[in-house]
Subunit: 540 residues, 2 copies
Amino acid sequence: MTSDHPPLAAFHVYDTTLRDGAQQEGMNLSVADKLAIAPLLDELGVGFIEGGWPGAIPKDTEFFARAAKELHLVHAELAAFGATRKAGTHAWDDPQVRALLDAQAPVVTLVAKSDIRHVERALRTTAAENLAMITDTVALLVGEGRRVVLDAEHFFDGYRYDPAYALEAVRVAFGAGAEVVTLCDTNGGMLPDGVAQIVGDVRAAVGHGPVIGMHAHNDSGCAVANSLAAVGAGAEHVQGTVNGYGERTGNADLIAVVANLEIKQGRTLLAGPGGLREATRIAHAISEITNISPFARQPYIGASAFAHKAGLHASAIRVDPDLYQHIDPVRVGNDMRMLISEMAGRASIELKGREFGLELAGQDQLLGRVTARIKTAEAQGYTYDAADASFELLLREEVDGDRVTYFDVESWRVIVETNAAVLGRASAEATVKLTAGGTRTVATGEGNGPVNALDHALRQALVATYPEIERFELIDFKVRIMDTMHGTDATTRVLVETMDSGADATWRTVGVGPNVIEASFEAIVDSIVYGLLRAGVTRR
Amino acid sequence: MTSDHPPLAAFHVYDTTLRDGAQQEGMNLSVADKLAIAPLLDELGVGFIEGGWPGAIPKDTEFFARAAKELHLVHAELAAFGATRKAGTHAWDDPQVRALLDAQAPVVTLVAKSDIRHVERALRTTAAENLAMITDTVALLVGEGRRVVLDAEHFFDGYRYDPAYALEAVRVAFGAGAEVVTLCDTNGGMLPDGVAQIVGDVRAAVGHGPVIGMHAHNDSGCAVANSLAAVGAGAEHVQGTVNGYGERTGNADLIAVVANLEIKQGRTLLAGPGGLREATRIAHAISEITNISPFARQPYIGASAFAHKAGLHASAIRVDPDLYQHIDPVRVGNDMRMLISEMAGRASIELKGREFGLELAGQDQLLGRVTARIKTAEAQGYTYDAADASFELLLREEVDGDRVTYFDVESWRVIVETNAAVLGRASAEATVKLTAGGTRTVATGEGNGPVNALDHALRQALVATYPEIERFELIDFKVRIMDTMHGTDATTRVLVETMDSGADATWRTVGVGPNVIEASFEAIVDSIVYGLLRAGVTRR
């Protein structure tokens, strides 16, 4: 190993949510999405974040360029993914390889063939040339100061077909300076016993120095167990994705793999103070960005993972929770849900109140009222995890007995229609009637879409009385259909994120209804009210 | 064993979808639902169907009463689930035990404590009395001609805490005539190595005659692997649920367990001619009855389980599909699908064309045009891997030179406004002007929200000319804000899923624009056009 980077940590947790996870059907991450997800992975404490394939995918080239300037990772190293050089060329002359260097990531992960059938039939080259492609490309990147991971694609199938060739691919990679060779179950069909045996064989063949990695897919429903089997047989690097995202049945669910290794086998794998204790929040935040509904039954971090149906054992669970759950959910930042209304619910509301400067300890009646109200609201589709500002407004309303208001809306109307002047392009117009500062105002706004128009109309009606709102900018707007079995008749949830450019602060609000525009209006009004409240403005 | 039923098959596949699966959050099966699901399980070829807990749950009592008359199972035996007698009573005097006999099922599965802590703290009885409860209840049921399965609850945790007591519970059950003792990982926290070791210990302790069963939950993400580990260590009875339904993270996914054992280990476990080859259809039919959206990434039977996205591999996949999938999807009744994305090359478009019955091989100019068009469209925010129908319309347009149309939209308008009559509730109204069947129509629809209203208006304008659209139902509607840094001014993508109730078919379409309503209109129009096209309707 010629790299002069600091020595490896004892074990690599290698996240590929942004690269292999993004192969999932229906997922389409923008550069902004990737830049928002990476800090969350870093906060989780993974060692490596594979960001994409610069050179092959223009969006990924842009991601690495922006990451170099905008991303400030505390724990993780960024890895650029790419392939070994083309057959019959020099590595230096291969633009794809050059793009990997240009990406400026400290780690480069190279995918390479290790199954002779893929070499001959897909790559259409010779056994020897494929090995030369590995050697040349690894050596070039190491020579340029990169830490190199070699992903041996289709390794397990290849090893079963021709073990000598598969092993040779691993050997030449290490020989050229690769720090890790990852054995990939690319088709995901392995079972744990087979993984343990083959990883053990490779371990025996390469000796105890080099780091062997595992990359599992879930086609047999065993990705987590296969990752554990590999670690049991000597792998010291595991790859996976948050929420198990990935092509077909997905990649190994990285949080489940790490939780099993940390909590059940007593290892310490994640960096940083939070680690697994933040896992549930981080996984859910990532699913907000990917806009893929979280799977309630996801191990460890799913909404149902520690939810007990109240039944015969309800009282027993309350007395001896450890007899009824495999781990304390706090260890992964999750909650036992049956208890939320009785105990944990009140405690977290108390805690939340303290964040807002409200001391609620001992106010049992108030806490009971808030708990009941949250339950009703969440049943309707509201979510307060992702909408702190709406929750604070709700809490203050219960404490003060009155909702904070700055203006009184009388009515609003939005018209969207096809634009005769611009074929195939609709226009939107909104009118809001409200009273603010003792004056009744009727204001009309235009916009690309109905929500945009409504936002403009509302601001126009308010700015004379509350000029502070000129500093507020809506920076994020998310729509989720809650009950997908009702088609266009379903309940809609809108989350809005607003920034106060004068105070470098952001906050999030929520609106819910059968009507996307109505839900948006609720979230926007809350966002303005909260912004004025936190700026210390009093009603005029 | 005093049962005069035919001897046991070599291996038990024991389904508990209707009992433990029904514990899933949000699932509520009626008697009719259970009566509809049982024949599907029978068709799959499971050996046992656990139907519920007669006596404890009134709906389940009714299920067994109706099943005795209405259900005609070909392969499976019906099992009634219940508990051992209460402490300090005679089994004959326990109404819950009597109800198990009254259910008239040939098999009774008894849940019993095997963890001494649960005996003392939850049951609040003595170690000896719990063993007597097992012996008495098993003996009574066996004496009445029932085949008895004993589910040893919390067995693995109990064995780790007090192996002697846990084993004694197993021994007394076999001693009293139980045919199977199932070791339950009730809290779901086990990992495969631990399961293999403990099942091996039990196997050694009870010798090679008695049948040991496994009941796994997925809290560690290892339910499938744990089931396989148990079988590897000598278990001959596996319990699980279709689609992995169940409390918290769910039970072992029975289809994945059986597929791994049959396809990868060469066993024959399911009865009947169809078996696994019908698994995908059966699993999806069951999810229609439970009304829980199928999980696309579900191993073997998920919609994405054999869907490939990567464009670079498409040409190789076409030549050698077996190098890119862990099994032939036909073996579980699933299909290989190619997803169209910005990474897609010409080869994957060719493959996709073949799915639609269009032969594009060699048409380089056309393929180049389609590839370029997809790239442009995806840069605008379209996504075709989640919208097959929109892609087929695009492809046909390029092949035919003309877009398929059935009607010509002149203009539309949507008005959403606060409703004076119902405070805090907005109403929506849409008007569409179009020409269909040679007639110009102006139609107005109302709805909860703007998209709903527009959908109603469009249908009203078209139904006279195309009565087929009455069969089309919008079953899913997803909104995604593409560029979140532009707030309410961002680009919106709408995905719509439509079902033809007359043809048991679904398809997905996409619309994109700065305006959520405009994007929705595009996706809905595409969905109607595609539905008419696939129904073989010609323009009227």
